[in-house]
């Protein structure tokens, strides 16, 4: 039987990808961030997941404003790093798991989550940067990804965004779907985005470490409290773009109510973003 073996969460920032791809992770600006990632790399290495489900938002690669799926899922055999406007990242292709993708689609729709299905899909920094952070070497280097992947997208670009509780429930539905998958498969769920940051407007540069630390604490102790925060409040406390934190709640929903935080790293800042990362195991 399949099983969700752990959850990991991290911010996704284009410049973190650029730092890895241009070999400057040991520069004084970046070193504290990348040093903080090392224990998380050890954690996922020992987990040896067969499949990693990556929860992220597309930032204008596959999704434009002409059609915006609130929730989407990849069902491709392979996913390539796409060109977001500054060229694709120089990383190997990701291998998908169409059989598990279609199982998830069937089971999510049966649980009333009407996913948009992608059979052809490129992935952007929201997906690739977290993968490099967790599965890449100390400087993000990677020859071959040690896990198959399934992308799940959440709209965090055009409001209204899905409600935080809905995101949590999507995680619960993913958990049920994985539990019902008959093949022995070790599944890691990865929630990405956040933490506090705002990129647009005169408020760009806004960050709020107090809110982020509260969020990190409640991820473990009281996730239901986080699901009750309205998206307007997420925007106020975490920034217009920081509302991406709702995607951490998808990963949280896929875990037991009682979890253990194995590792946490919080760094202000990676460019304009307060960069948070955490690793969780079920109790």
């Amino acid at each position: 039987m399949a099983e969700i073996i752990a959850a990991v969460t991290t911010s996704h920032v284009p410049s973190i990808g650029i730092a890895m791809d241009s070999g400057i992770t040991q520069d004084p600006y970046w070193k504290p961030l990348f040093d903080g990632y090392l224990p998380a790399k050890e954690f996922v290495k020992e987990l040896k997941p067969d499949v990693t489900i990556v929860i992220y938002n597309d930032h204008g690669l596959e999704v434009f404003l002409d059609r915006v799926p609130t929730f989407g899922i990849g069902a491709a055999a392979q996913y390539l790093s796409g060109d977001e406007g500054w060229g694709p990242r120089p990383i190997p292709p990701f291998q998908g798991d169409p059989d598990l993708s279609w199982h998830l689609i069937e089971h999510l729709v049966a649980q009333e989550f009407d996913m948009t299905m992608f059979q052809e899909m490129e992935v952007d920094h929201g997906f690739t940067v977290p993968m490099s952070v967790f599965f890449g070497g100390p400087a993000g280097e990677i020859e071959e990804w040690p896990t198959r992947v399934i992308p799940i997208t959440v709209n965090t670009i055009q409001f209204p965004l899905p409600m935080p509780l809905r995101c949590f429930k999507l995680g619960q539905a993913i958990r049920k779907a994985v539990d019902a998958y008959p093949k022995d498969t070790r599944v890691l769920i990865m929630g990405t985005g956040g933490m506090s940051h705002q990129l647009q407007g005169e408020r760009s540069g806004f960050m709020k470490p107090d809110f982020d630390r509260m969020f990190l604490d409640k991820m473990v102790t009281d996730p239901m409290a986080l699901t009750k925060i309205p998206n307007g409040v997420f925007m106020k406390e975490a920034g217009h773009e920081g509302a991406e934190l709702i995607m951490w709640l998808v990963a949280r929903g896929a875990m037991n109510m009682d979890i253990e935080e194995v590792y946490q790293h919080y760094h202000v800042s990676a460019s304009l973003t307060a960069a948070g990362l955490a690793c969780y195991r079920n109790k």
Partner: protein
């Protein structure tokens, strides 16, 4: 629960919840809630920026910015914002930061530069603003 039950329980209606969320988001200074209203404001600008995810389109844009923008039906005002790389002007006019940033990338302009310009700050001043969070 029916809507009358919600009212009886003193819970906000769905309309009230939506309005409260928007009111709060719109009350944030220097923030431009990217909802349906704003998404309709300057669709051509966002569409032009989105097209820059293709290398050939970037070359065509670089060769003749005005002609390229005209293909997407940008208003004269929006074209000028593009020529001037006026990031805050683009955001105010309905540009979405993720699409607009693709235009910034053409000139290797970083998000920190975009942030500084939106704040009417020099890059050094803006970096000081970012670093000020470190100690908190």
């Amino acid at each position: 629960m029916s809507s009358s039950d919600e009212e009886a329980a003193g819970e906000p209606t769905i309309s009230e919840r939506i309005e409260e969320d928007k009111r709060l988001a719109r009350s944030l200074e220097g923030t431009y809630l990217f909802d349906g209203t704003r998404s309709q404001k300057n669709y051509p600008l966002n569409k032009m920026c989105m097209s820059l995810t293709k290398r050939d389109n970037r070359a065509a844009f670089a060769a003749d910015e005005a002609a390229y923008c005209a293909q997407f039906g940008l208003s004269e005002e929006s074209k000028q914002l593009v020529f001037d790389r006026d990031w805050i002007g683009m955001i105010r006019s309905g540009g979405n930061i993720y699409y607009v940033f693709k235009l910034a990338s053409i000139n290797h302009t970083s998000m920190q530069h975009v942030g500084a310009q939106q704040n009417s700050m020099t890059l050094e001043e803006f970096r000081a603003k970012l670093n000020a969070h470190t100690s908190k």
